[in-house]
């Protein structure tokens, strides 16, 4: 019974101790943060503790003045640490910026490369298409040529020569002959008239109408 009581009491004590340690740690961390904030907000550094001359009696100052002197020292130390921290932060941000620039440059190069590849591909495709069209055209021309040569074999030149050019006298004679023929025949078929003089029927008709209009022929 007594042993149990002792054990319980020991356990309670251990729990209490652990709790106290935890609270102390938290308080210390909060103090540190507050001190740093105060230091950052503070002005130019205050004078450090005055030096004691050698041989001077050690005087025990009151706690407040001791703390007041110790505080500037701590502030000076912390201020020395601050630039270092600031330098580190600056360096880090500079590095980050450099990395970002590098990344951007790499992305740009990649995009440029892709664009060039796409252009190259398009150009090749166009070339290929042109080549295909040219080949198709050549093949068609070849086929047409072969077809023509095949047909040519069945063409015949039956006659050739040069047309006779009628001189003015000759054409006048022909007209007289035309009129004479009509007057002689009295009744004449237009087709026969045309074939007799080597002209088309329509030409013969128009010639007759001109002559009628002129008055060279009547009836």
């Amino acid at each position: 019974m007594d042993v149990a009581l002792y054990v319980i009491a020991a356990a309670v004590l251990v729990v209490l101790i652990l709790f106290a340690v935890k609270v102390r740690r938290q308080t210390r961390a909060a103090d540190e943060d507050q001190r740093r904030d105060v230091v950052r907000a503070a002005g130019p550094p205050q004078r450090a503790a005055e030096e004691r001359g050698a041989g001077m009696p050690r005087r025990r100052r009151n706690l407040a003045s001791v703390m007041a002197n110790r505080r500037p020292q701590r502030e000076a130390v912390e201020r020395e640490e601050e630039p270092v921290e600031e330098d580190e932060v600056e360096q880090q941000s500079f590095q980050a910026e450099m990395e970002e620039r590098e990344e951007r440059r790499r992305m740009q190069e990649l995009r440029e490369q892709e664009r060039q590849q796409a252009e190259e591909k398009e150009r090749l495709q166009e070339q290929k298409q042109e080549e295909q069209e040219r080949r198709a055209k050549e093949e068609q021309e070849k086929r047409e040529e072969e077809e023509y040569l095949r047909l040519k074999a069945s063409f015949i030149v039956e006659e050739q020569g040069e047309e006779e050019q009628l001189s003015e006298d000759q054409s006048r004679n022909l007209l007289q002959e035309f009129i004479q023929h009509i007057e002689t025949s009295k009744v004449v078929l237009l087709e026969d008239l045309a074939s007799h003089f080597g002209m088309r029927t329509q030409d013969a008709i128009s010639r007759l109408q001109d002559l009628l209009a002129e008055g060279s022929l009547t009836g």
Binding site: E147, L151, F155, I156, Q160, E163, R200
Partner: protein, 74 residues
């Protein structure tokens, strides 16, 4: 195979040379034009055949169709 005959005169020559060609009815007129141009030694690409009354000929016709359009179908 029936044939049709054309008398073609070269009007660009003052002597007016002519040739009488006999071709199968189904011949495309482009072939007739090409053959006539070769016979007269002129370039076929810049040549054309027109009738006596100045009517142009559609080269897509066959020789038989052209003759028929002049009322000479048999």
């Amino acid at each position: 195979m029936s044939k049709v005959t054309f008398k073609i005169t070269l009007t660009s020559d003052p002597r007016l040379p002519y040739k009488v060609l006999s071709v199968p009815e189904s011949t495309p007129f482009t072939a007739v034009l090409k053959f006539a141009a070769e016979e007269f030694k002129v370039p076929s690409a810049t040549s054309a055949i027109i009738t006596n009354d100045g009517i142009g000929i559609n080269p897509a016709q066959t020789a038989g169709d052209f003759i028929c359009s002049y009322g000479m179908c048999f």
